[in-house]
């Protein structure tokens, strides 16, 4: 896939992530892309020669670390990875929790996990702090819903794998 094609993949997926409210995925993607890719290379070093009173190039190259920008293809592949990490992997994690606990605790009621923020410490919030409360919501991971999504998630995983192959 050429650079322009890779950029089409990036722009399409970035728009989609934004449209469905997955801004956090885009934010993390941009941070990772901005950081670049660290590589090592052999480099000749200059050293100060006292006798000649000038810098000379060392004959023995040194291994040095450098940061290089991602290519459009690498950026596209990273964004597809990010899609998997927000849509495929959490689902697999939920199923693994369900299967793991069910295996050891057959009698345990395992229809859901409740995630509950501890509101005890922030019981008297000021008006300005009410935004914080909005981010602290009780939510449930319903295992039945996760199980029902398995075929969709598997399709997405396969499509991501094939798209990454096409990018490369």
């Amino acid at each position: 896939m050429n650079d322009d094609d890779a950029k089409i993949i990036i722009s399409t997926l970035a728009s989609k992530l934004k449209d469905i409210g997955l801004d956090w995925v885009l934010e993390e993607y941009f941070v990772a892309i901005r950081a670049g890719r660290v590589e090592t290379k052999q480099a000749k070093y200059e050293y100060w020669n006292d006798e000649k009173a000038k810098y000379q190039i060392s004959g023995k190259p040194k291994k040095v670390a450098i940061t290089v920008p991602f290519t459009p293809q690498q950026r596209a592949e990273s964004l597809v990875d990010a899609v998997e990490n927000c849509a495929v992997v959490p689902h697999e994690v939920a199923i693994a929790i369900h299967d793991g606990l069910k295996e050891f605790f057959p009698d345990f009621k395992l229809s859901e996990i409740e995630f509950r923020p501890d509101l005890e410490s922030i019981s008297s919030l000021s008006e300005q702090e009410e935004d914080l409360l909005e981010t602290m919501q009780v939510y449930h991971i319903e295992f039945e819903e996760e199980i029902s999504l398995q075929s969709e998630v598997e399709k997405l995983r396969s499509a991501c794998a094939a798209l990454k192959e096409a990018i490369n």
Partner: protein, 228 residues
């Protein structure tokens, strides 16, 4: 797929794959905020801890903070104290003839300086846990058998996370502390290796070898605990 000289236009096959990913994203995403994915990942590590303990012959029961049997799993979303009045589930781990342990998600632990730090997954002495609930205090690092820092990211984790974790290990000790994430990169791995930390930066269910490796490391800690 064939790569052709065709300018900036995807082939029909590539366009179809891209559309499938777009559609799949809409259908499959149930975790629209990051916190949900992070909380779930911590629950996954709790499950691995429990499995490792059971593998080593422990009896595990899920209990709430009154020590009654928990009817279902209620875990913290975000860190809080072990002594909160809110009812959260922990796993009580019992090895025959040994003091019981408790595995918690998202509790504060007091470090070397007595400053408190969040521990994403913590296995602590059950007696310490009970005393802390009674005294409204945080467990001491000396009673922390296992501490796991869990990081769930959609793209590679930054070096800053490793730096802060290394600082945390100065406070909470280095032995039997883990750094785990679903995605890593070469640099975080190098740092963790250099500092002798137990780690995995590809710990997801789709990586069974990595899961077994971390579970094995946890089993070894429990094996030593029941032996000593």
């Amino acid at each position: 797929m064939r790569c052709s000289q065709r300018g900036n236009k995807l082939t029909p096959e590539e366009q179809d794959l891209l559309s499938q990913v777009e559609q799949g994203l809409s259908m499959a995403v149930t975790y629209r905020n990051k916190m949900a994915a992070c909380d779930l990942y911590e629950a996954y590590l709790l499950m691995l801890v429990v499995k490792a303990a059971v593998d080593e012959g422990a009896t595990v029961e899920f209990r709430d903070s009154t020590d009654a049997a928990a009817p279902h799993l209620t875990l913290r979303s975000g860190p809080s104290s072990i002594f909160t009045s809110a009812q959260y589930t922990h796993a009580r781990i019992t090895f025959p003839g040994k003091p019981p342990l408790e595995a918690h998600v998202g509790i504060y632990v007091a470090g070397l300086s007595t400053v408190v730090h969040e521990c994403d997954v913590a296995v602590i002495d059950a007696e310490e846990a009970r005393n802390c609930r009674q005294n409204s205090s945080h467990p001491s690092r000396n009673k922390l058998l296992v501490g796991i820092e869990c990081k769930y990211y959609s793209s590679n984790v930054g070096i800053d996370l490793i730096r802060s974790f290394l600082g945390l290990t100065d406070e909470l000790k280095k032995k039997d502390r883990f750094f785990v994430s679903n995605i890593g990169g070469a640099n975080p791995q190098k740092m963790l290796v250099k500092h002798g930390i137990a780690w995995s930066t590809t710990l997801v269910p789709g990586q069974p070898k990595e899961t077994q490796r971390i579970q094995g490391a946890l089993s070894t800690i429990f094996r030593d605990y029941k032996t000593l």
